[in-house]
Every structure is written in structure tokens, then in C-alpha cells.
Amino acid sequence: MMIIATIFSFFSLVFVKINGESAIILSRWIDSGNLSLDWSLQLNILTASMVLMVNLVSTLIHIYSVGYMEKDPKKILFMAYLSLFTFFMLFLVSSSNLLQLFLGWEGVGLTSYLLIGFWNYKEKANNAALKAFIVNRVGDAGLLLALFTTFVVFGTLNIGEIKLLINSQNESYFNFLGFDIHSLTLISLLLFVGCMGKSAQFGLHVWLPDAMEGPTPVSALIHAATMVTAGVFLLIVMSPLLQSSEFSLNFILIIGSITCIFASSVAVFQNDIKRIIAYSTCSQLGYMFMAIGSSAYTLAYFHLLSHAFFKALLFLGAGSVIHSMSDEQDIKKMGGLYNKIPLTYITMLIGSLSLIGLPFLSGYYSKDLILEILYLNDFEYSLQFFTMGVIGVLFTSIYTLRLLVYVFHRESVADEKVIAHIHESPLIMILPLVILSVFAIFFGMFMKLIFTEINFLEMWSYTIHVDKSLDASFISQNVPVLIKKLPLLMILIGTIVILFLYFSFRNLVPFLKLRLSFIYNFFKNKWYVDQLYERIFVRPTFYFGKGFWKSVDKELIDNLGPNGFSRIVLSFSSLISKLQSGFLYHYVLSIIIGLTLLISLYTYIF
């Protein structure tokens, strides 16, 4: 099924190439006052290519899951969830109005919850699923507010109509509690809050690493390639709107760069193979938001696509490693696997190198272009942002190589039993890895032109905002060679550090850990963000929840509401039963009383 869908989505991309933009209206959805919405499929170069990517990755992961989940008793349910997720994701991507998009958005959130908690006998998995859902609710609230504001300001939720109306609303202000807020800024900030939740940006990122409790194919599909990029996608779709608010662009840039640095630095100190990759995803999303913040939407999208391929590859590779290590996820307990599972090793290597941004792999093109754009930006602090991005590259290369060294190269420290059991994954799992690594190698090289060449930029500009001056020739002319080579330099430094630490001066690592334990713990504990949230939000909520449940709900509402009502009903009904004495003269009396009552009521009151 998925294969067929992929083929169809390829055709639809070709169709878009030929026919240009169009929207297919499926049926009327809502008709209420000013609000009228259709179920519809938007077809343009952006959605069609995104659909192709989603379908392609999803297909490969479906295939992979057949092998990965082979021994799981609930594998049919798992496949159903995966397909449901894909449906919602396509729904989100191909929507032509914000509400339908929101529906897809919630749908992927739901399926993500279901899939993270798929192994629901593990308490950690349940907690992670809950955490993901709750943190996402915060973001969703932002998105929902954005939707409301959009409707108030524009009077429509149709994306195409909003784009047409942007210029007319440029000067409108939204009055909230007496403050006049520039409405477009408000909308774009609220949209970004939604995206922060879904795309795990700093502040709302806490769910993503924990979500790694889910099965690995889930992490690959949802938490690397598709769902987490939905936020980026939404901002790209709404790019003309963002463009009209400089403040929010700057805000996005700041948050993106903080995320980038934060996540990559934390990743260096993690030991769980999937968590490392999760933080890596977080930081790569930071890059995408940085690109958006500097108005380079095509580049953000370029990085989104290439990231989807190599990150899915990395996750699936990690899954393959975990599979062969009998479900061991701690990289400290692995080692020396490169000759035992060579195919996995090679594909992981390709994915990692692509992630680092080694020249001529896809990550190189997309990431370096973003950095160059940052450098070229005419913001006041563009150099600082550029530096942050470059430091991010340094951290990236360190954690990636650390992972490779720990998993594949060091001498093994695993149990005898586990080692005896190490085996290459079955073909059905390797095949998606191979296909994805082909993409991870060549995607950037071939697709670079589409996102930068002036002629192609023309094509994009129908759908999203494009700054046409930033084409390939302009970039190549204006970026100094040193700047261009700086990321590469950082990679080299990172490589040297790793080689230095883990091969030549083995003893230095524990020594450093001891000496710099403060810094080590700071990173190891993810900048203490989780603990902070625990203190500020989670515990008070539990405390209040308990208090409210006991005092307000049980004592007050239950007693006055259901229980009290039923007590009243019971006492009244026993009264009525008592009145029913069975004596005829009582009945006659009641009739006479009723008659007199009615007459006197009428005479004296009405």
C-alpha cells in the first residue's frame, strides 16, 4: 500500500511540475457564520515534494518495521498505528486551510502518543508518552490561539486567502487587555509557539529525548523525519506572513540558535544511543529554524528534506544495532561492532558523516548553505549567530564521532552472551538502510540547485516567500573562502578531539570528568531543564490537582452536584410516596386543595 502511495505521490509531484498550483476540494466541511471550510488537498511544489518525502520515508520504515517488530505480539496494531500516523501526516501536509492542518497536527500528536507508549508494560514508556502529549498540548494551545487570531484578523482560515490578505492587514493591531499588538506579529509568534512544541525547540524540547522509549522505527519516522519537522513545514507554508514581522523572525532565530547549541552540547554527554540521535535531531531542527529566522525558507526546506533522509537512516541504523545487541541501548556497553555487523556499520557511517556535514554528502550542502546565509544576513548580530551555528557544528561532529567510536570501534565490553548473539539484521531491515544511505549521499548534491538556482527560486516563489537575491551565484561570490571552510575546520577539530581523547589519551576522560564535574553534570543533566520543569510545573500541578480533587471536586461539587441532587431526589420521592396514603378521602382532599390553589393562584397572583 505504502509503495503504491509513494509512486502516486511521485506522479503528483510531476503533475505539479506541469500544471502548477491547484487545490482539490473533496467536500464541504464547515459552514458556520463567516467560517466556511472544505476538506481539500493542496497541490503545489511544496506539498507535493513533502508528500513524496513522507511517503518514501514512511514506506521504508514500514518495510523496516516488518523485520524489527517481528517478534512483537502486537505487531499488527503497530503497523496500523504507523499507517494511521502516515495518514495524519499527509493530511497535515496537504491541507489547504489551517483548521484541517490543525486536525492533522493533533492526529500526529495522538499517534505519536500511542506509538511512544506502544510498549505500555514499561512504565518509562508510559511516562514518556504522557510527557510528549502534555508538552505538545502547550504548543498546540499556541497554535490554536494562532488559529483564532488568524480568523479574527483575516476572517478566513484558508491559507491561499490569507496570503492574499497579508498586505492589507499589515497595519492592523490586535487589542488584548488594552494592549495593542501588531496582529501579524502576534499570529506568527503564536504559530511559532505551536511549532516549538511539535518541533521540540528549546523550552518545549523536553519530550523528544524521552520519546525514545518507543520502538525505534517510531523514532525514525515520527521523531526524526516527519512529525517533528511539521513545525518547520508550517512556518514555511506561512512564510509570507512571517516575512511581515521582523520581531518574530528574530525571535525564531534566537530560539533556533539556542536550541542548536543546547541540544548538540547535551548530546555530547549522553550515553543512550537513541537519546544522542534525538538531541541531534533537536539541534538540526534548530538549524532549520535559524534558516527560517533569516528568511531563507528554501534552505530550511532543503535541510528538512536532507535531514529527513540521513536522520531516518541514523535511527534505523541505531535500531539495527540495538536489535543485534539484544536490545541494549547504552553505548558504553557496546564496542567493536564494525566487523560484526558491517552493513549496518557502513550505513551508519554514511548517515553520521552526512549529519556532520562532510563535503559532498547531503548534510554538507544543506547545513553549510544555512550557515553561509547566516553569515550574509544583515542583522546586527548575524556574526554571533553564525558563530553559534559553527560551534553547533563542532559539537555535532564530536558527539557523532563519539557515538561511532563507542559503538563500533572500541574493544567490546559487552557480556559474552550478548556478543555471541550479535548478528547482522535481516535483509528486510538492511534494505531500507541501503536505500536511505543512497539518499543521504546523493540528495544534497543533486538537489542543491533546485533550492538555490535563480530559475528554480522563481518556481518556489509561487508558494512560499523567496528572497531572490540569495541565489547560488550571489552566495558563492559573497562568502569568503575562510568562512566557507570554517565548518569543515570545526569538523576537523572535532575529529581530532575525539581521536585524541578516545584513542591516544584514554585516561584523560575520567580525569576530566572528575575535575570538571560541575560542567559535566550540567550537560549530562540536560542543562537541568527537566528538573526545573519538574519543580515549577509538575509538582505544583500534582499538588494542586490533589488538593482540588479532594476539596473542590469531592467535597464541594460531588456533594452539591450529583450526590446532593440524588439525595434531594430520594427524599422528595419518599415524601411523594408517603403522600400516597391509599385513603380515598385523602385523595379527594388533595383534589379540592389543588382546585382551590389553582383558582387562588389565578385570582391573586397572575
Partner: protein
């Protein structure tokens, strides 16, 4: 002939009365089937002339499609009750040819009632109907409860008669005529309606409330429902209720339509008290028949609510509610008639427990009908309640609508408690297996009707709207 249906019924009744002594074996069955045939013939003659509109006997009676429609409903429900009588195993004392004949007399009374166009003719036909009902209630002579119920019904009924006559005499004293159109004309001509006229109307209203058992004039209902033989309870909770309600509608809409401001409030009071007492009173009951009495009070309160705005929509809604109420009530009573343990009829709610295990199909049908009574969508009861509430809300009586919904919730409790005991309670002693295939089939039909009304509400809406229109044509 305009009053052909009444003539057919009366002459047929007399003929049956004459031949009944000459039949030796199973005479009640023979007479019963002939009565059914007679009822069928009468229905046929009504359907033939359903759109006729004419006054007869110098305005004593009126034949219009509102009346004809009510007559049809009355005849159908009475026919069904008679059919129950024939297919169900009854108490020995009921197996006498007089039973169907008395039913026929009261039917004649009801038919004249709904077409009465004069306070006098109305009084006479109500009496004809009521006297027959008193006899029916005390039909099991050996049963003490039945006699007690008969006495209670008779005394309360006589009181109702007195009150009616007193009210009529007040009105006659003012208007100088008992004719409905004269009363209506008097109202239109008179700039200020004298208070005494409205007091007269209140007397009539109270008398009719007694008949339809609207609270606070309901006290006799639980005792009579419980004491009377079940088949009689089935009868008095259906056909006479429709007839008296039809009279109430005709009275309030046509001759007293001008003073809707005055009687509207009174009807609101009646409806509120009926709904409250009907829902609260039933909770403590352990006997199904007694419970059904309170259920009737509750439903009557609901229907009265539709009368308050005095509009065509209201009458339409009430007519539909009446039909749906009949199907639900008849379904439940058919089941009660078949509830037996060791060949003896039982009527306690406890006896229902665990019915699901012995009679899954009947349990399902009964559950559907009970859910329908509770007004749970998409069943028939919900449709009726929805239509009435719609009318009430349309006339901005939000307080009344809220109260109706709350009492419906309370009422839903006791219906659903029965369903609960059917499906989830452990059976104490099992009921006899139902061997009566006709009853089974009818139960399935009733529940099927309740399930599927939602699919073709337009049919009932159109039908009722057209008859409501004919009622307003007089104005």
C-alpha cells in the same frame, strides 16, 4: 353519512350484545374477534372520510380531520389492547364476553368525546366513556384490589364530573349557551373577559386534569393502575388518555383560544407539577404497574408543555408524542401481561432480574422500549421529546424547557434501573418461558417501530401538521 363510524360502532355493539348470550364455548373469544372486526370496519369508514369538515346535530358535534385522526389512534390502540386480551392468558374472571363489549361502549364514548362541539355533548360522552371504564377497572369481582381500585376510580371520577358540571354552569351563566362557537364568539366580542368565566374554565381544566391524571390531581392513578387487572391498566393508560387529551386540546385551542394568556400559566403549573411528581414519585416504586402510572404522569406533563404556546407546531408535536407514547406504553404492558411465574402473573421489578439470560430477544425488545421511554436518542421517545422541547424553546420558555430536561434525567433513572436489572442482576427465580409467539412478534414490532421512527419523522410530521391545521381552521 357524516357520523358513519359512530353508527357502525354503535349498531355493531348492539348486535354483539344480542348474540353474546347464545354462544356457548369460549364466548369471550368469539365476541372479542368480532369486536376487533368491528373496530377495523369503523377505522375503515373513518379513513374513507378523513378530510371531511362538518358540524352535525346542529353543532352538537363536529367532524374534522383532527377528530378523525384521534379516533383512528384511539381505535388502533383499543384494537391492540383487545388483541392482547385475546392472545394472552388472562385471569379466569376476565374471560367473559362482557369484557370486549364494555370496551366497545367506552370506545363509543371516546369517539363522541373527540368530536364534541358543545359542553353538554362533551359531558355526556365523557360520562359514557368513564362509566365503562369504572366497570372495567373492577372487572375481576373476586379480586379485592380490583374492586378497591374500581371504587376509588368511581368516587374520584364522580368528583371530576361534579367539577366539570360546575364549571360548565358558570360558563353557561355568562355566555348563555354551551355551544363552543358561541363561547368563542362571546370571547371575541367581549373586551374584558369576566373573571368568573376563567374560573369556570379552571374548573373544567381541573376536571380534565383528573381524567388525564395530571398532577396534583393524579393521586388515584397509581392505586387504580396497580389494582386494576393488567389488561385494563393497559387500556386506561392508552385510549382514554388520547381521547381526553384531544378534548383538552380542542377546548383550549378553539373556544378558549382567545384567553391563552390566562390558561397558559395554569397549564404550565400543571405540566411542571406533573413532570416533577411523575419523575420523583416513580423512584421508590417496586411494582412495574405502579411505576408505569408515574411514568404516565410524567409523559402527560411533558405533553401539556407542548400545549402552552397554543400554536400549530405545539399541537403537531403533541400529536406525534401521543402516537409514540402509545407504542411505548403498549409495548411495556404487553410484556407485563406476559410476565408469569408458575402460571401466576407477577408485576414486581425484581421479577425482571436476569431476564436477559432466559429470554434474550424479549429482554432486548423491552430494553429498547424502556430506553425509548427515557428519551435516549435515536429512539422514538427522543423524537417526541425533541419536538416538544423545540416548541417550548421557540416560545422562549427556557425555564420550562430546563425543568423538563432535568425531570427527564430523573425519570431516565428508573427506566434504566429496570434495564439494569434485566441485564445485570442475578435472577432470583426465573420467570416462565414465554411461549406466546404472537406476543413475541408484537414486542419485536413495537421495539422495531421505536428504533426506526427516527428514519421517517417526516411522515408523522406531515400527518400531524395537517391535522393541527384543521383544528386551527375553525378560528
Amino acid at each position: 353519512m357524516i357520523i358513519l363510524p359512530e353508527i357502525i360502532l354503535s349498531i355493531g355493539f348492539l348486535l354483539l350484545l344480542c348474540i353474546s348470550p347464545f354462544i356457548k364455548n369460549d364466548s369471550h373469544k368469539f365476541i372479542g374477534y368480532l369486536s376487533l372486526l368491528l373496530i377495523f370496519l369503523t377505522q375503515f369508514s373513518i379513513v374513507k372520510d378523513i378530510f371531511i369538515f362538518e358540524e352535525v346535530f346542529e353543532g352538537f358535534f363536529i367532524v374534522d380531520s383532527f377528530g378523525s385522526f384521534l379516533k383512528l389512534i384511539i381505535l388502533i390502540s383499543a384494537g391492540l389492547v383487545l388483541f392482547f386480551y385475546l392472545i394472552v392468558k388472562n385471569d379466569k374472571s376476565l374471560d367473559r364476553p362482557e369484557f370486549p363489549l364494555v370496551v366497545l361502549i367506552s370506545l363509543i364514548g371516546m369517539m363522541f368525546m373527540v368530536s364534541a362541539n358543545n359542553l353538554l355533548s362533551l359531558f355526556v360522552s365523557i360520562e359514557l366513556q368513564s362509566l365503562a371504564l369504572y366497570i372495567l377497572v373492577s372487572f375481576s369481582k373476586e379480586d379485592l384490589n380490583s374492586s378497591e381500585a374500581g371504587v376509588k376510580y368511581f368516587v374520584v371520577g364522580s368528583l371530576s364530573t361534579c367539577i366539570f358540571l360546575f364549571g360548565s354552569s358558570l360558563i353557561y351563566g355568562l355566555v348563555g349557551s354551551t355551544d363552543f362557537s358561541s363561547i368563542s364568539k362571546y370571547m371575541i366580542d367581549q373586551p374584558d373577559i369576566p373573571m368568573i368565566l376563567i374560573i369556570g374554565l379552571i374548573f373544567i381544566l381541573v376536571s380534565i386534569s383528573l381524567k388525564i391524571s395530571a398532577a396534583p390531581f393524579h393521586m388515584w392513578t397509581p392505586d387504580v393502575y396497580q389494582g386494576a387487572p393488567t389488561i385494563v391498566t393497559a387500556f386506561i393508560s392508552t385510549a382514554p388518555k388520547v381521547a381526553v387529551f384531544g378534548v383538552l386540546i380542542r377546548l383550549l385551542v378553539f373556544p378558549f383560544g382567545e384567553i391563552i394568556v390566562d390558561w397558559g400559566k395554569l397549564v404550565i403549573i400543571l405540566s411542571i407539577t406533573s413532570m416533577i411528581i411523575g419523575s420523583l414519585g416513580a423512584i421508590m416504586q417496586s411494582d412495574i404497574k405502579r411505576l408505569m402510572a408515574y411514568s404516565t404522569i410524567n409523559h402527560i406533563g411533558f405533553m401539556l408543555m407542548g400545549l402552552v404556546p397554543g400554536t400549530e407546531d405545539g399541537i403537531t408535536a403533541i400529536s406525534i408524542y401521543l402516537i409514540l407514547y402509545l407504542t411505548m406504553n403498549l409495548g411495556v404492558f404487553l410484556f407485563i401481561l406476559n410476565m408469569q411465574r408458575d402460571q401466576i402473573n407477577v408485576t414486581s421489578i425484581k421479577d425482571l432480574s436476569g431476564l436477559y439470560k432466559t429470554e434474550p430477544i424479549m429482554a432486548g425488545c423491552l430494553a429498547i422500549i424502556l430506553f425509548s421511554m427515557a428519551g435516549i436518542p435515536p429512539l422514538a421517545g427522543f423524537v417526541g421529546k425533541l419536538l416538544i422541547l423545540n416548541v417550548v424553546v421557540d416560545s422562549n420558555l427556557f425555564f420550562l424547557a430546563t425543568l423538563a430536561v432535568i425531570t427527564s434525567v430523573v425519570a431516565a433513572f428508573y427506566y434504566i434501573r429496570m434495564v439494569k436489572s434485566i441485564f445485570f442482576d442475578e435472577p432470583s427465580e426465573e420467570l416462565d418461558i414465554l411461549t406466546n409467539n404472537q406476543s413475541k412478534l408484537l414486542m419485536i414490532l413495537f421495539s422495531f417501530f421505536n428504533l426506526t421512527v427516527i428514519l421517517y419523522p417526516q411522515f408523522f410530521l406531515n400527518l400531524s401538521a395537517s391535522i393541527a391545521l384543521s383544528l386551527f381552521a375553525l378560528k
